[in-house]
Amino acid sequence: MDFQLTYSAEQTEFRAEVREWLEGETPQSLRTKARSEAESALQYQDRRTFGRKLGERGWLYPSLPKQYGGSGESFERIIVLEEESHRLGVSLPPYYDSGGKYGAASILVWGTEEQKQKFIPPICRGWVRTWQLLSEPSAGSDLAAVQTRAVRVGDEFEITGQKVYVGSAHGAERLWVITMSDPDAPRHHNLSWFMIDADLPGIDIQPQDLLSCHGEDESDIFGFKNTIYFDHVRVPASSLIGGENNGWKVAGTHLALEHGGRGNIRTKKIWGQLLEYCQTQTVDGRPLIEDWSVRERLAEIHLRLESVRLLGARNFWLAAQGTKMTYEGPQLAYLQKLTGLWLTKQIIELLGPPALTNDEQLGALAGEAERQQRDGIVDMHPGGTADIQKMLIARGLGLGAKSKG
């Protein structure tokens, strides 16, 4: 077993190529945090431009096949891309693209060849930004209970309903939507997915404030969620993905990815900031790090974050090998959520009230500590609550399976 990532000469050469390209093409504006909504909005334009440049090289979604606009990169080369973009403080893709990420992967499995050619390349090339639309006021954890209706009308479907906790600021061009298409069919046999344009008549997008709303990526704090209303929205039948009333199977592909199945290799940025703060900040004239209880708590935080990081790397490796996972995806999602919430208490006990404000003078970790306080709570819910993840872990381990006969 070797945890060390080692690279061949070809991969090292690829890293040099990626680094040089990213150094030259990554907009300066994305290398620092936006300090206002106006700056964030300007940054978004740069994110999209940069996304299109990444898309031209197939690096926006490097794991997707070349024929659909990705570059079909190997596991190792994807890691290189991730590491090098992370080095400059940008993510891949450099904007919030949940519908692109999970929609494209789902269409790859469930779409017709015509649909793959139509919908995936615009995502991979950065021509469209896509939001996923799953939750509804009465259907959160229970996704199969969505009530947004899709009714077939000739060569079209008519969609009516409401979706919540959607997207980010700055709008989207496409929407990846799960609907209920047959009220008379049994549960799990009545759902259908659509990939549709976001500007169709009858679609109304209203901002929705939450305790914490992620922006376009980890560095952007100026985001919000949206409520989206569909009022008899006509969509072409060709935008139905995976077949009518077959949506629960499509959801299985989508949710497996959203529930941590892809893994990741990134370390949580806040760790380095926290360590540096404790090493440099003095309280009552004494560096925080000199306090034994601070040292012990830092070590405990590091242990938790390292465990999560390694499980992320494990999942990334398993996914790259094509290994079938059972409980590993939801396990990672669960531990990420739980650790985020646990971290809020650890941070305030380490830093005190400066962890609770993003005030320029008084906020600890340049406001990141305060953000963690809010994110730790809000992140418990999207993509399946921690409770749902536990249920999926148990299911993955085969618990209770025999009782079904």
């Binding site: 939450l210 305030i348 005030d359 008084l362």
Partner: protein
């Protein structure tokens, strides 16, 4: 043994609850929070005329010298709102601290004004760059210059209380928030009810100074009483979080049944009720021990530690029950969550409170 509340305590609690329901309901509190607006002016008059602001103030200073348990009923109900913290801080923190000062005309005048609502005094004890280690005086030489952080309730107050030591005399300086030498800046982020206060070259001869002895037993008792009142407020907030979580669990249907039927949801609610009841009864035990000053101080700090952790955990668990909707500021739960964070370090974090308890129990002799 009789663990029931007296009729007086119950009546007081009910009248405060009626006030909160009538004047400080969830929607109004959400609006105030969203707008960062001060509390409506009619609240002050209503609380003063009801005598609530003087519950912990001696009769000869215009208060009613109510029992700590009665006062706890007030703050418990305010915490259920949660009504903004200025009223807790003036009547539950600054009133017992100033009441613990030696008799003086200035003390009497200050307390009379606080009981009548003429002044609303909030503490500003935390000097920038320090962590809480008790009420520590700021050294002065006739003028006061200080950077004070994380002062709560400034928007609703007329004065901030600053502990000072001037020419060898310790006192609370009651600094008008409108004084030209005082600038307060609201902090952004989770602590939206907290302020940074900057005081520059303030001539202390112009300021009312209430002489006190910060390390005296009386002051320690006053501080423990203040800690107990903040705990009562947090217990009230926990109680409300429990009600909100239970109501949601009994209304929300997922997977064809009420989510309250799911064991994992039940687990979260049980987390809240366990913390709530622990904090409540440790607090009541402290409040029932006020005849024995040493025991009260010890138990009050234990109650404070229990309340802080219970409040934090109750907010987390409520969010797990409520999921997405709980993160919507309009739902109102976020007000309790923010308060659980805001009050985490007020008069000391749980670690400090536990050490104070151990010290009072005589397990060791120094907090260091």
């Amino acid at each position: 043994m009789d663990l029931s509340l007296t009729e007086t305590e119950q009546l007081l609690g009910q009248s405060v609850r009626d006030f909160v329901t009538r004047s400080a309901g969830k929607d109004r509190l959400v609006d105030l929070h969203a707008q960062r607006a001060p509390s409506p002016s009619d609240w002050l008059g209503a609380m003063a005329s009801a005598g609530w602001l003087g519950l912990l103030i001696p009769v000869d200073c215009g208060g009613s010298a109510a029992s700590p348990m009665e006062a706890a009923m007030l703050f418990h109900e305010l915490g259920r709102g949660p009504v903004p913290p200025a009223w807790l801080l003036t009547a539950g923190v600054c009133a017992p601290l100033l009441s613990a000062a030696p008799d003086s005309a200035l003390r009497t005048q200050a307390l009379r004004e606080m009981a009548s609502g003429e002044s609303v005094v909030v503490p500003a004890f935390q000097v920038a760059g320090t962590r809480w280690a008790g009420v520590r005086p700021i050294a002065c030489d006739g003028s006061l210059t200080a950077e004070l952080t994380f002062a709560c309730g400034v928007e609703d107050s007329t004065h901030i209380a600053v502990p000072v030591s001037c020419r060898g005399e310790e006192s609370y300086a009651l600094v008008p928030t409108t004084h030209s030498g005082v600038q307060s800046r609201p902090l952004t982020g989770f602590l939206a009810a907290s302020y940074a206060v900057s005081i520059t070259d303030l001539d202390l001869d112009e300021i009312r100074l209430v002489p006190t002895a910060l390390s005296s037993e009386r002051h320690e008792h006053g501080l423990a009483l203040a800690a107990a009142m903040v705990s009562a407020y947090q217990v009230g907030s926990c109680e409300r979080l429990l009600e909100v979580a239970v109501a949601h669990a009994n209304e929300r249907v997922q997977f064809g049944q009420l989510i309250g039927a799911f064991q994992r949801v039940q687990d979260h609610v049980v987390r809240i009720v366990n913390g709530l009841d622990s904090a409540r009864w440790v607090l009541y035990d402290a409040l029932a021990s006020t005849d024995d000053a040493t025991a009260f101080i010890s138990k009050a700090w234990l109650a404070r530690a229990a309340a802080i952790d219970a409040h934090w955990e109750a907010a987390n668990a409520a969010h797990e029950v409520l999921a997405g909707i709980g993160s919507d500021p309009a739902h109102g739960t976020v007000l309790h969550t923010a308060m659980s964070r805001l009050l985490h370090d007020l008069l000391g974090d749980p670690s400090y409170c536990r050490r104070r308890h151990g010290e009072a129990e005589g397990w060791f002799t120094s907090l260091d």
